[in-house]
């Protein structure tokens, strides 16, 4: 089959240079025409770059307090930002974003925080999407009592405020980053399951699915080759927006001390640890806060752009 598929992809007839365009390519093009989505992608690109290169970008280790290091003048707790280029005395060690209460370089912590936040976002959403897709596809494709059981359980999960449920789960499992991820993942399963179920239900009734059945395709072939590929577009939007929510939830859990534990550089816990110093050392509170807001905003912009680009009502405008 792959052999023949390659043939179709490379098939060219002399004199005809018209390219064929798949739906993905159209979506991609439309996405690039939306300024907000492009801004979202740029910000995300920078964040991902920072996350990948944090160990080279960061001037200090983000977890080790620098007490009595760096003579002649050791760093002090909650020191204001010191940037040599902006007139900070050259004999002082440079801390672009100052130091936190435990004399750790805030800038290095912020860079490493990007790594953690993106990891949190992608891993929880991947976890939730996999389980949500399986449950939603079963509910939508098989239907009947199985559909009822699965979806009523999802309704129960959805009935709790998500953060409260996540706190409950973390309380049972014990605080820690992994447990927080698990909690956020579980809490966000229902929204994915619902989206997948709804689109499986509508795609299932399409004539091309009937055609597959008439041609002799069996249930698994039809589900994986016909229904799921066509049902997953709303999931892409939901997933992108879901990453933003997951990052926000993880930050909230960490802020409450239920997520990442010190000294892990996590934006939420950095914010939580220094919240009482908001007037004396505002940079310690605002910089992690701005980082969270920026990341969430970038994912939301991209998600909205994707939603427009994937809108089936615009399918004929390329």
């Amino acid at each position: 089959m792959t052999n023949a598929e390659n043939k179709i992809a490379t098939l060219d007839v002399e004199g005809i240079s018209l390219q064929s365009v798949s739906l993905w390519q159209i979506t991609w093009r439309r996405l690039f025409r939306r300024i907000s989505a492009v801004i979202g992608m740029i910000v995300l690109g920078i964040l991902i770059l920072i996350a990948l290169t944090a160990q080279w970008l960061a001037p200090y280790d983000p977890t080790i307090p620098m007490m009595d290091m760096n003579p002649p003048e050791p760093a002090k707790p909650r020191q204001d930002p010191c940037i040599h280029a902006f007139g900070c005395p050259k004999d002082q060690p440079q801390h672009i974003a100052g130091t936190d209460g435990n004399v750790r370089d805030q800038f290095s912590r912020l860079l490493y925080g990007a790594r953690l936040s993106l990891m949190v976002g992608f891993s929880t959403v991947t976890f939730a999407i996999i389980i949500g897709t399986v449950l939603g596809a079963i509910a939508g494709y098989i239907g009947g009592w199985l559909d009822n059981i699965i979806m009523r359980f999802m309704d129960v999960l959805l009935a709790f405020p998500s953060l409260l449920l996540a706190i409950a789960i973390v309380t049972v499992l014990g605080p820690g980053l992994i447990n927080a991820l698990l909690a956020i993942g579980i809490v966000s399963i229902p929204s994915y399951a619902r989206v997948v179920r709804a689109s499986v239900l509508s795609v299932r009734e399409m004539d091309y699915v009937s055609a597959s059945r008439a041609l002799g395709g069996d249930m698994t072939q039809i589900l994986f080759r016909r229904i799921l590929p066509n049902a997953l577009t709303p999931l892409i939007v939901q997933g992108t927006l879901g990453i933003a929510t997951a990052i926000l939830d993880a930050a909230a859990l960490s802020f409450l001390g239920l997520g990442a534990q010190p000294p892990t550089p996590e934006w939420g816990s950095m914010l939580g640890a220094e919240r009482n110093q908001v007037f004396t050392a505002p940079h310690l509170v605002f910089l992690p806060g701005i980082a969270i807001a920026l990341t969430v905003l970038a994912f939301n912009l991209l998600g909205d752009g994707l939603r427009d680009a994937l809108d089936p009502r615009l399918a004929h405008i390329s």
């Binding site: 023949a4 007839v13 064929s20 798949s22 739906l23 091309y208 055609a211 008439a214 002799g216 395709g217």
Partner: protein, 332 residues
């Protein structure tokens, strides 16, 4: 040349016999989703189709034409009745046996926009059946696909394009190509031209006719356009509210319709001469709900010739003349 396996044996052999086909869709309601009623989409329908002929199936929207077609392919499971294809009852077949039968019967859908997978190049759609049944080598399947594309008037380079790059008429050709790739004996054409422009309709009809005569195909042609049916059918069955009310040869039906419903349909065909006066039977009211069909003859609520007996007893579907079947008390 890609050859059909079954020969061109012109014969009077029955290829399909549908006997007492019934399809009720349950209507569920309430907290416990109990079945409270049934939509009687197809209620005791019987007919036969001979090898190489085209049976037209006409009727208003919602009369059950499409359900008959899809039930015959087991895309919808029949409630009762039997479908005998090539001397085998396929209404109970399962798994492997059903899969093998599917090679021999195919369907062409009404809506060319919904009938192709938007994420696949159309060449893959046409090859889908060959892949499912593992016919030949991948190389061979590719050649077959190219051949079939040519039958329906598409070029080689079309194969790698996606459905959204085609017009409605072209998509319908791709749908036809997909159905033909498996070399079926029997094809259900479920209103294949009603979604198309009039100028494209005749092209598609001609393709269907050419292919039929070349490969000795048997068609069930579902439509609500009587002119289209007249053009393509050998015999015609008229459906009303889940039942076949009249069935005969095309010429007989168009010259001498017996059932009042058929007469009304015939008089609704537009004719191009405005000065020609003709007797018109105009139906009033809407088609009754198949949830609760009228007693007796289902047509009596709208029939201009309704008698007392019509609302009490159901007329028997009987042969009044040679090969002219009708269900009406007037002809008894």
């Amino acid at each position: 040349m890609y050859q059909y396996q079954h020969g061109k044996t012109g014969s009077n052999r029955e290829l399909i016999r549908v006997e007492n086909l019934v399809k009720y869709f349950p209507v569920r309601a309430g907290l416990l989703q109990r079945v409270v009623n049934h939509v009687r989409a197809v209620d005791d329908v019987s007919f036969t189709i001979k090898e190489g002929e085209t049976l037209g199936l006409v009727g208003e929207s919602g009369c059950g034409k499409t359900t008959v077609g899809r039930t015959m392919l087991r895309l919808i499971e029949p409630t009762s009745g039997s479908i005998i294809f090539d001397d085998r009852d396929i209404s109970q077949l399962k798994g492997r046996e059903m899969k093998d039968i599917r090679r021999e019967m195919q369907i062409i859908f009404q809506d060319p926009y919904a009938s192709l997978d938007p994420r696949m190049p159309v060449g893959d759609s046409v090859m889908e059946g060959l892949n499912i049944h593992g016919i030949g080598t991948p190389q061979r399947r590719f050649e077959i696909m190219m051949e079939v594309m040519k039958w329906v008037g598409l070029e080689e380079y079309h194969a790698r394009r996606y459905p959204h790059e085609f017009s409605g008429g072209q998509r319908q050709r791709i749908g036809i190509a997909r159905a033909l790739a498996l070399m079926p004996k029997f094809v259900i054409c479920d209103e294949p031209v009603s979604a198309l422009d009039v100028s494209i309709q005749s092209q598609i009809l001609n393709i269907l006719k050419e292919i039929q005569s070349e490969f000795h195909l048997t068609y069930l042609f579902i439509a609500h356009n009587l002119s289209v049916v007249e053009h393509i059918s050998d015999r015609v069955a008229v459906m009303y509210l889940g039942k076949v009310v009249e069935m005969t040869t095309r010429d007989e039906l168009y010259r001498n319709p017996l059932h009042p419903y058929t007469k009304a349909l015939m008089s609704a065909i537009p004719i191009p001469n405005p000065h020609l006066k003709r007797e018109r039977t105009i139906l009033t009211g809407d088609i009754p709900s198949p949830l609760n069909p009228p007693n007796g003859c289902r047509f009596h609520t709208r029939c201009p010739f309704a008698m007392d007996i019509c609302s009490q007893e159901e007329p028997v579907f009987h042969e009044t003349k040679l090969d002219h079947w009708v269900a009406c008390w007037l002809t008894d």
